[in-house]
């Protein structure tokens, strides 16, 4: 039993050693460390103006779309109301 256990351990170690020996050599790292800067390079900075313009434009568009839909619905209901008033009076 003890001899079988020793045989298994030796086999596992041997296979591991073979697998490790077969690994390709490690490539050198792309950079050795981080380089701090005080501000982002110009190319990396996100411009604020497009976001600000998009926000204000969206508010205006949303309000105008809502007012337009409201005006359209009110016109339809007012026409229907006028028609119904006429029909009630003609009865």
């Amino acid at each position: 039993m003890k001899r079988r256990l020793v045989t298994v351990v030796v086999l596992v170690l041997a296979v591991s050693a073979l697998a490790l020996a077969g690994q390709p050599p490690a490539t050198p790292a792309a950079q050795d460390g981080f380089v701090p800067v005080n501000s982002l390079p110009q190319a990396e900075q996100l411009p604020a103006a497009p976001l600000l313009i998009a926000a204000y434009s969206f508010v205006w568009v949303a309000l105008m779309v809502y007012v337009w839909f409201l005006w359209r619905r009110m016109s339809r209901v007012e026409r229907e109301l006028a028609d119904l008033n006429r029909r009630v009076q003609n009865r």
Partner: protein, 218 residues
Amino acid sequence: MSRVFAPLAFVVMALFAVAPIIVSNAPYEQTMGLVQKVFYYHVPSAMLMFISAFVCGIASAVFLFKRSAAADRVAVAAGELVVLFGIVVLVTGPLWARKAWGVWWEWDARLTSSLLLWMIFLAYLLVRRYGGPGSEKLAGAMALFGMANVPFVYVSVNYWRTIHPKTSVVMTLGPGMRSAFWFCAVSFGMLYVLLLTLRRRLEDQQAQVERLYLALDD
């Protein structure tokens, strides 16, 4: 239409025409710079979203307990405006956040609870539209629940760890920013009164149409 309506509409249009000039003359914020100016439309919209949720909830309570049809019509109008101003908040906020925080969205307390509040009132409108006869009472109960959420959304930034600015920001604004902010807040407030009046008038007219159809059937 009331004699006050046309002058009010004119005043609101004039205020909104002047607002961009006021905002552009306001000082820049030290860390956020230009993008912070989204604040002048974002925060008044959020305030109106909360106010409209209260109007909808209170009107729904009056409808449920006093059976007032007029209150129900105000509730519908206010519910629509919660969704409208909520969309404005939920779009302008991420546009600001992208620059200020580096991300479009964060699942923090304020943002998540605001989104949930908006969805409650969106559900209110869907129930009113597709719920069939008698759904007004269910919708009214939903509006009450939505109204109860508003204080939690408001204080969420003070009690939970959140990336969103705290409620003390508005009260501690510098002079240049304070005047621009309150100018925009008053403009939005008057716009809200105008839209609520228009929308409620539409509901009144639809109710009148239904009464006339019933009169014709008799």
